[in-house]
């Protein structure tokens, strides 16, 4: 299995092909529906984002609360298509990796190819297992959104699959 780092390098992106299974280590940011809506509105208004997404990774997740003694609660991926409306504008700002589950629309895939980004998936519902690869969680912003706030996760050997590579090859199209 390939090992990659977050933030990802240009070389790593080029080396990833749809269907590859990878173990990722480094750090990423979490964001789902409500945080995307806020960031999208900031971009529309020409304002700065609370997180510089250039070169970064966003994981579509809203974790369950952590039990005492845990770094993070169960945290599997949420359905990515709900972020399709917002993703191209983040990709245009340099976002390199999106992690979620399920399909993306054509606009997102075109934007990925144009910007040299990849879309990875985690196994939906394997939330307790995935949480084992999250070593640290830190609140970054939008605390009022509860589980939908933006967190920074430190990850170690997070198991992922390349669903759509930077050339637009798609594991779901068979």
């Amino acid at each position: 299995m390939k090992k990659i780092g977050f933030p990802i390098t240009e070389e790593e992106i080029k080396g990833l092909k749809a269907g590859d299974r990878v173990l990722a280590s480094g750090y990423l940011y979490t964001a789902r529906d409500a945080a995307h809506k806020r960031m999208y509105e900031l971009i529309q208004n020409g304002e700065e984002l609370p997180v510089d997404v250039n070169g970064q990774t966003i994981y579509y997740v809203g974790a369950a609360p952590a039990k005492p003694g845990y770094a993070v609660g169960p945290c599997g991926p949420t359905s990515s298509y709900r972020m399709d409306k917002y993703a191209p504008s983040l990709l245009d700002r340099g976002l390199k990796v999106m992690i979620g589950k399920g399909m993306r629309n054509d606009e997102v895939i075109e934007s990925m190819v144009r910007n040299g980004a990849v879309y990875l998936v985690a196994i939906g519902g394997a939330a307790a297992l995935i949480a084992k690869s999250i070593k640290k969680s830190e609140l970054i912003c939008y605390e009022d959104l509860g589980t939908e706030a933006i967190y920074r996760y430190e990850v170690e050997d997070m198991p992922l699959i390349v669903a759509i590579d930077s050339e637009g090859n798609n594991v779901y199209v068979r």
Binding site: K67, P74, C75, K101, G102, M103, G125, A128, V171
Partner: protein
């Protein structure tokens, strides 16, 4: 039969237990179906994904943490005996308090927002629940509780078929909904089909069907055969575990029916993920 008093606290405690346990422990029917599917898969990726689900569910049960982070919106089907009186409170508030305690004390995710369109503010305790109550004869309360995740809920659909569509129309609609859902609802799925009644009754039947163990069949042999046929057709689609290909697109398919109008044949398809969480109790 005399009136039987049940304390609000007893109802609250029962509801809390149902929601915590259904989120921590996969049902035996689901665990067995995943295990069998894992043995039958030929594609390596499908085998591996199913193994991850087996491992995941073992971790969740052992550590008493939710198997999926989306611990759902609380749905309850209640059969409320007409000889039951709730002491020291109301039934509705007792149930809501049980949901509140399960989600707050049990480290379950709070996923409910107040107003659906304008405010969308998290209620912070996962209330209110969706409660379907039927008054039945007797002095007991039977509760079927389900934590419904929305990755799969969003892939569900209702269609007002008309009588001439027949069984072929039902089949086509169910298969279309599942094909359209594809990898999004966390396959392998559990599929609930509700046929008959009215617009809202069909949807309610479909939800109830997802809460019936998948190792049971509709008591009417014709529907039991239809359950088997549809499941077999769905598993030929090749969507597979996590949508990455394979023979296991659905673990089970249940049909529930109700009489309907001479002019209609409503059909609802409620999709559930492999984490098909439900538990029941009688008070």
């Amino acid at each position: 039969m005399d009136i039987r008093e049940i304390s609000a606290e007893e109802i609250t405690a029962a509801v809390k237990k149902l929601f915590m346990e259904c989120n921590y422990y996969a049902g035996d029917d689901i665990s067995q179906a995943i295990k069998t599917a894992q043995e039958n898969e030929e594609l390596q990726i499908a085998k591996d994904v199913l193994q991850q689900l087996i491992d995941n569910n073992e971790i969740a049960a052992r550590e008493q943490i939710p198997m999926c982070q989306d611990t759902g919106m609380a749905v309850l089907f209640v059969e409320y005996g007409d000889k039951v009186a709730v002491k020291d409170g109301s039934f509705r508030e007792a149930v809501e308090e049980g949901v509140r305690r399960a989600y707050v004390d049990g480290y379950l995710r709070k996923s409910v927002v107040t107003d659906p369109v304008f405010d969308r503010k998290n209620t912070k305790d996962n209330t209110p629940a969706v409660i379907h109550t039927e008054i039945v004869p007797g002095d007991r309360i039977h509760i079927v509780a389900g934590g419904k995740g929305f990755g799969s809920e969003n892939m569900s659909s209702v269609k007002m078929l008309t009588p001439s569509a027949g069984v072929e129309g039902v089949k086509k609609f169910v298969l279309d909904v599942v094909a359209h859902a594809g990898p999004n609802p966390c396959p392998p799925m559990v599929i609930g089909v509700g046929i008959g009644g009215t617009f809202e009754k069909a949807a309610q039947l479909a939800k109830r069907a997802t809460l019936r163990p998948i190792n049971t069949s509709n008591p009417d042999g014709r529907y039991a055969a239809l359950e088997e046929e549809l499941l077999s057709e769905i598993n030929k689609m090749g969507i597979g575990p996590a949508g990455l290909g394979g023979k296991t697109t659905a673990l089970g398919l249940n049909i529930e029916t109700y009489p309907t109008h001479i002019a209609g044949m409503p059909v609802a398809v409620n999709i559930c993920c492999h984490a098909c969480r439900h538990k029941e109790c009688t008070i």
